[in-house]
């Protein structure tokens, strides 16, 4: 025990030098039978520390195990290790140019220039709810400038950290203030969804969504599962460009879903990460959300500017809660602040400044819509090229889902063995569920991918 150094008692307190020496003594474990500090030099100590020692040397973090790598990010890790010149990274959920490079939109660079050169700008804390004009304009973007809910001041909008942050804040709010703590998520969905909701304290259930047989929507299953959900449960809906499947309901199917949700009193929570990116039209991609607002009912919507403005690393997004009345919206906003303050106090300014700058300038806004459409068009073109290439090779199977699915991702329908063979033989990197990011393809690399798929389908069961 601590017999080697002076007792730290109130009487006759040791000099500072004595203290430092005794601290050093403890650190070196001299005369102390615990292996305490030896661990720092020898990663595999032969002596196990004495449990009765004052500083046993066993880390307080001893019970913390290594967490597995994130499944999606792990794809890029493996890709980076591969020396092959023909390797292709189709795991990444970030847009790439025809040359395979990340893209910063011209209009974003312009906005950033204005911001950085503006001598009057300061870096004072934003309000807890974020930048006011950013919030108003975000709401208009998704709900429409003439949305009655906006006119009637029924929407509480708060700036959050991209889509993830908006979902988390919304979920925490619901756990605190909503009577039902179950959320239904589509099967499959983005890998991070269940974790976000579980950490917030919601209980997660799923509803059928993807039909592997048709590589399309399991509409019957969806209706059955939402139909049997308890009244008042929360339902997660991908506003457009479902991730990972790329399968979206038709307008008619959305209407059907809306009626079911309203009749069962379910609370819709939209995840809108691809507005404008899916079809190329901002309004078209917001139709599902606007349908639900038009009926006067309540809903939540998480928006992300990661993809449609290429602001991935800036973490810009917004959470909107559409309420029945302005009075409720005001109270809801005040309570959202109580969720945010203990999480990170207030949101980061840079990305929101960029968005607000672009939105407030007619010229820049137009430029944005054009650049956005160009990105969406390139994705759509890749779909067509891949489909044509597979047809040209006579690859067995119906590949029309490639052109029917929408957004950044295609759910190929390939199984894990086929995926593994594509990685091994052709150096194609993708998630094991068969999802490929069309954003990672170019005209130059489509033939290689088509060859890989052809080989996997014809040679691997």
């Amino acid at each position: 025990m601590r017999t080697q150094f002076p007792p730290s008692s109130a009487h006759g307190s040791p000099s500072p030098t004595d203290r430092r020496l005794s601290a050093l003594v403890r650190h070196l474990g001299v005369g102390d039978h615990s292996a305490s500090s030896m661990e720092s030099q020898d990663p595999n100590p032969a002596i196990s520390p004495s449990a009765t020692a004052a500083f046993s040397g066993d880390s307080v973090f001893a019970n913390i195990v290594q967490a597995p790598e994130d499944p999606i990010l792990g794809v890029t890790v493996a890709y980076n290790k591969d020396p092959s010149p023909v390797k292709l990274n189709l795991g990444v959920g970030a847009y790439r140019t025809e040359e395979g490079k990340p893209l910063v939109l011209n209009v974003v660079r312009r906005a950033e220039q204005l911001i950085i050169n503006d001598q009057s700008r300061v870096k004072e804390y934003l309000p807890i709810t974020g930048m006011a004009d950013f919030n108003k304009l975000s709401a208009k973007l998704i709900f429409g400038t003439d949305s009655p809910a906006i006119q009637e001041n029924r929407i509480a909008t708060v700036q959050c950290l991209s889509g993830t942050g908006s979902l988390r804040v919304g979920a925490e709010f619901l756990v605190k203030h909503y009577h039902n703590r179950t959320i239904y998520i589509p099967q499959p969905t983005w890998g991070n969804h269940p974790k976000v909701f579980t950490m917030a304290g919601l209980s997660v259930k799923s509803y059928r969504y993807y039909d592997p047989a048709t590589r399309g929507l399991n509409f019957q299953g969806l209706l059955e599962d939402l139909g049997s959900a308890p009244s008042g449960a929360i339902v997660l809906l991908h506003a457009c460009a479902h991730n990972p499947t790329g399968v979206d309901p038709t307008t008619e199917q959305w209407e059907h879903i809306r009626q079911l949700v309203r009749s069962k009193g379910l609370l819709p929570f939209f995840d809108s990460a691809y507005q404008g990116f899916a079809s190329g039209s901002l309004d078209t991609d917001a139709q599902s959300v606007r349908m639900f607002v038009a009926d006067g009912g309540e809903c939540l919507a998480a928006q992300s500017y990661a993809k449609n403005m290429g602001l991935y690393g800036e973490r810009v997004g917004a959470l909107s809660i559409v309420c029945r009345t302005a009075d409720v919206a005001t109270r809801v906003e005040s309570q959202l602040k109580l969720v945010i303050r203990p999480m990170y106090s207030n949101p980061p300014i840079h990305g929101a400044s960029i968005v607000a700058t672009i939105f407030k300038d007619r010229d820049m806004y137009t430029e944005w819509t054009i650049e956005l459409k160009a990105m969406a068009d390139r994705i759509i073109s890749m779909r067509q090229q891949l489909f044509d290439a597979l047809r040209a090779r006579g690859t067995p199977g119906d590949w029309s889902h490639i052109v029917k699915q929408i957004g950044m991702f295609t759910f190929t329908g390939l199984n894990t063995e086929q995926v593994a063979s594509m990685t091994k033989e052709y150096h194609i990197y993708m998630t094991s569920d068969g999802r490929i990011s069309m954003a990672g393809l170019s005209s130059r690399t489509v033939p290689h991918l088509a060859d890989a798929i052809h080989a996997a389908v014809t040679r691997v069961a």
């Binding site: 203290r19 500083f55 870096k123 108003k136 001041n153 993830t164 901002l282 991935y312 690393g313 407030k360």
Partner: protein, 470 residues
């Protein structure tokens, strides 16, 4: 068909849409952001509902009727710290003074963007870097320099790879990640926090579901540290508790332990197998020296203790709104550090996926470049120096004006941005209501918001509140 709708903020009429097609010859014009109907009715609604908020509790709805599902949500009170600035903004009196939130102001009482920050941002703009997602743990270059800044580049904990550093959303976000780690891996363990402490600490631990209790800290009789009370309370806590310590410039009191007291605190923590948990929001800002302000943290690391340290660059680099900070966990082995880091990532991913890049790049550029780093040190000394001058002037004004013989020297002894005046709630309210001096109700004033020119006015206000209000 490429037609697009411009978002308009200034329109009162819902039909004021601007539809522009690709080939339009309409000259570009700025869309003005003016006060819209939305803002006005929002303010009105806010004012009304604070008078009639009621608590309904949760309403169970089985049928979708026209009552909101959130009808039972009550109006939350304004944040006790951030709400002060809101109130200040609403005040039209010329003499008003904002000594609420801890944000640095120049002598002209203007916000301040550091020159090195502007230089860094211009460099970044020139380089035209991309905006790809950072890894979950943040910008590697930032994580490296932030740990080195805190512990010293030559510190054994760094050389031995024993520090898990994860970029966090300034101090708050870093504290929250640590709290989440404590909740998951030390279930039932308490965090001991000083009485008083920064108002948001309790909220963070409450929301993270980490139990906490207080240790004595501030002694109102001496307007100093209740050291015996502090030691006694730390000793009395169950072994293996986390002890939240302010690395320097204690918020809200400005009272820091002496070096000898820090050593005693380290001893006691070691005795009880407690885990020190530092909140370092003012490194460089307290004394003007980055190294001196980190000495408490370095002492504990040198003792061989495992510890947590939350850092913020809000004040010392003036990066408030960029939300840049870090959580550091010093472990007894590099293996433990790697595991801890992996679990911190697992907690960050469902909170916000990965942190914002802009502030991290600014810090990496400033701290990582010797020329910029030196320039930063100079600007820091100027900022800390201004605070010290203001303290002196305030003390001089109070001593000259107050004939009661009260000892105001605590103003000089306290350190950092804040001063704990010793004014109680009623007296603080008098400061606001009568003198238009905005401060928090616990008697804390932010000297960063005080100019030399206003010291005499403030002295008058303090003397009046102290002596004439109870």
């Amino acid at each position: 068909m490429a037609s697009s709708t411009i978002l308009s903020l200034g329109s009162a009429s819902p039909l004021a849409l601007l539809a522009v097609s690709e080939n339009s010859k309409v000259p570009p014009q700025k869309v003005k952001f003016g006060s819209s109907g939305l803002t006005n009715s929002f303010l009105k609604a806010k004012g009304n509902s604070s008078l009639k908020s009621q608590s309904f509790g949760r309403i169970s709805m089985t049928v979708a009727v026209n009552v909101s599902r959130f009808e039972g949500v009550t109006m939350a009170p304004p944040d006790p710290i951030l709400g002060v600035s809101e109130a200040f903004r609403a005040d039209t009196n010329d003499a008003k003074l904002n000594l609420g939130v801890g944000a640095y102001r120049t002598e002209e009482l203007q916000p301040y963007v550091l020159n090195v920050v502007k230089k860094a941002e211009n460099l970044m703009l020139e380089r035209g870097e991309n905006k790809e997602y950072l890894p979950i743990e943040g910008l590697a270059a930032f994580n490296k320099v932030t740990a080195e800044l805190l512990f010293g580049a030559d510190n054994p904990v760094i050389r031995e790879g024993r520090v898990a550093t994860v970029q966090g959303l300034s101090g708050t976000g870093s504290l929250r990640l640590a709290a989440a780690l404590i909740e998951r891996y030390f279930p039932g363990s308490k965090v001991l926090i000083s009485s008083p402490t920064w108002g948001n600490h309790k909220n963070i631990f409450n929301d993270a579901k980490v139990p906490w209790s207080e240790y004595r800290y501030y002694d109102p009789k001496t307007v100093g540290l209740d050291f015996d009370g502090m030691i006694s309370d730390i000793k009395a806590a169950p072994a293996g508790s986390f002890v939240l310590l302010h690395g320097c410039a204690h918020n809200p009191t400005g009272i820091d332990p002496t070096p000898e007291q820090w050593e005693k605190i380290a001893d006691v923590i070691q005795e009880k197998n407690h885990i020190p948990f530092f909140d370092v929001a003012y490194q460089g800002f307290a004394s003007g020296s980055l190294d001196a302000d980190a000495s408490s943290v370095r002492l504990f690391a040198a003792c061989g203790l495992e510890l947590l340290v939350a850092q913020s660059y809000s004040k010392n680099l003036g990066l408030y709104a960029e939300r840049i900070g870090a959580i550091n966990v010093v472990c007894s082995s590099s293996d433990a550090a790697a595991r801890v880091k992996s679990q911190l990532k697992r907690l960050a991913r469902p909170m916000y996926s990965n942190p914002p890049v802009h502030g991290a790049r600014i810090v990496a550029n400033v701290v990582g470049d010797p020329a910029l780093f030196n320039e930063w040190r100079e600007e820091m000394e100027l900022m800390a120096g201004r605070i010290k001058n203001v303290r002196q002037k305030l003390f001089d004004s109070l001593s000259a004006k107050d004939k009661s013989g009260k000892d105001w020297s605590f103003i000089l002894k306290q350190i950092g941005m804040f001063s704990f005046t010793g004014l109680n709630k009623a007296q603080s309210e008098n400061m606001t209501n009568k003198w238009h001096v905005y401060m928090t109700k616990d008697g804390r004033i932010s000297l960063a918001g005080l100019s030399l020119a206003k010291c005499e006015y403030l002295a008058d206000a303090i003397i009046d509140s102290y002596h004439n209000v109870s």
